[in-house]
């Protein structure tokens, strides 16, 4: 693989408007470096579920299902180490403390049934999770990458990571300071309804409505619900 292939991929990243097209492009491109599968995901911590954190899923279908079903993420040395380092690494470089456990070795063994023997992982910042990792998998018994190939892989990984962050729709879930319920309660407050009236409209108890209003005030650090309404409008979270 030559460097201009990498810059061509970077250029194409600008044009991808879906995660799916980015994934097939990246898979096709890294084939030239000997990688058949890849996954880009938030790194699960302390029992977090892996599935909702996955952003590009290029693993063999059966393997992903089994990995999630068996909760392999909690014991897989590669996954554990991905939360502990900021630096790209070969799977074979994961310290024995995490890769040498019986459970981790079992995961590695099962992976070979799906043609996954070795790999290279690139941890990256994530704005939604502790951090992300883009892991490339190979069917080669041990993954041989020249220094130049590592450079090429890291460069592409970083641009894939940037692109996926740009594609993620921040409108809805990017840490809105208010929940949907809190917004709803503020909307009715903006319409001049009392908590008692709002509770009837929404079919909630008045106590619950007051609780949502309190949470909304706390979210903005303000004293009154009126101030919270003003702030929510100003930040364009509600449109009364």
């Amino acid at each position: 693989m030559i460097d201009s292939d990498v810059f061509d991929f970077v250029e194409r990243c600008r044009k991808h408007v879906t995660a799916g097209s980015l994934l097939s492009d990246l898979l096709e491109t890294v084939k030239n470096l000997g990688f058949e599968h890849l996954i880009l995901s938030g790194v699960p911590l302390g029992g977090q579920k892996l599935a909702p954190m996955v952003e590009l899923n290029g693993w063999p279908k059966g393997w992903f299902e089994r990995y999630v079903e068996a909760e392999h993420a909690a014991v897989d040395g590669v996954c554990i180490y991905s939360a502990k380092t900021l630096k790209p690494f070969l799977w074979s470089e994961v310290p024995a403390k995490w890769s040498g456990t019986e459970a981790s070795r079992r995961v590695a063994g099962e992976a070979t049934e799906f043609g996954i023997w070795s790999g290279f992982a690139v941890p990256m910042l994530s704005v939604n999770h502790w951090q992300s990792v883009l892991s490339f998998a190979s069917s080669a018994k041990s993954c041989k990458l020249s220094a130049r190939q590592q450079v090429q892989l890291v460069t592409m990984a970083v641009y894939a990571g940037m692109t996926i962050q740009a594609l993620s729709n921040d409108e809805e879930h990017a840490e809105s300071p208010l929940t949907d319920r809190e917004k709803e309660v503020l909307l009715w407050a903006a319409a001049g309804k009392t908590s008692s009236e709002t509770s009837q409209i929404l079919g909630l108890t008045e106590r619950t409505v007051k609780w949502h209003a309190t949470r909304a005030r706390e979210a903005f650090g303000v004293a009154t619900t009126t101030q919270a309404v003003v702030e929510a409008v100003r930040r364009r979270l509600i449109h009364p």
Partner: protein, 219 residues
């Protein structure tokens, strides 16, 4: 929310305390945390690029420097031209007065947090606002690859000038971010603000020294 004070050779005398605090925070970060630089006996970190050509954005909150950026026209000697020219194998070292090299950014520990509305994004917003005000086309330089997805999250476009490289166990890439209205609009939208974060006190100096100004002086 920070306010970002524009500090350069023309108005530096108005910021003696803040600038000193900035150098001490730099020492905390680049010497003690990153180990990129040797300790300095006076506890202040400076390098050969702290010259009159530099413009600083000092991010202040409650009277303290919590974040910063240093901008240098790439037509002047800058870190990429002097230290990392080998990392620009794709496009060559930029040498344009309207391309600013962006360095010396940190966030003090108690302002660091995950999520996209924090101090780092506020600083990015201030840099983009300043760059747009000053008519720049691009800002960037050598950066840690790890943080590149942050640009993506801001919907910013960053052009690589070369491949990522490993140096002393860390991975870097030289990349420049396009300066335009859309880039400012997207970061402001993320922060939920419409107002300026910049504060300009005292005499101001245009970042791009226009050829016409020089000719007038010559005449």
């Amino acid at each position: 929310m920070i306010t970002a004070h524009v500090v350069n050779a023309q108005n530096k005398h108005l910021y003696e305390n803040e600038f000193d605090e900035f150098l001490r925070r730099r020492h905390d970060f680049f010497v003690h945390q990153k180990h990129w630089r040797p300790p300095s006996p006076d506890g202040r970190e400076r390098d050969q690029f702290d010259t009159d050509a530099a413009t600083y954005l000092l991010g202040l909150e409650d009277g303290h420097v919590v974040t910063s950026a240093r901008l240098i026209p790439t037509s002047e000697p800058h870190m990429v031209s002097e230290v990392f020219p080998h990392m620009c194998e794709k496009s060559g070292v930029p040498r344009r007065p309207d391309w600013a090299e962006w360095t010396r950014t940190f966030v003090v520990p108690d302002k660091r947090r995950t999520g996209l509305r924090g101090t780092l994004t506020q600083l990015c917003c201030a840099v983009m606002e300043y760059a747009l005000d000053e008519g720049l086309s691009a800002v960037g330089g050598v950066q840690e690859t790890y943080f590149m997805p942050h640009h993506g999250a801001l919907k910013w476009r960053a052009e690589p000038l070369g491949m990522a490289r490993e140096q002393d166990g860390e991975w870097y890439i030289v990349a420049y971010i396009e300066v335009n209205e859309a880039a400012l609009a997207s970061v402001r939208k993320i922060l939920g603000i419409e107002h300026s974060l910049l504060v300009r006190r005292g005499r101001q100096r245009p970042f791009v020294q226009k050829t016409s100004d020089i000719i007038e002086v010559a005449l």
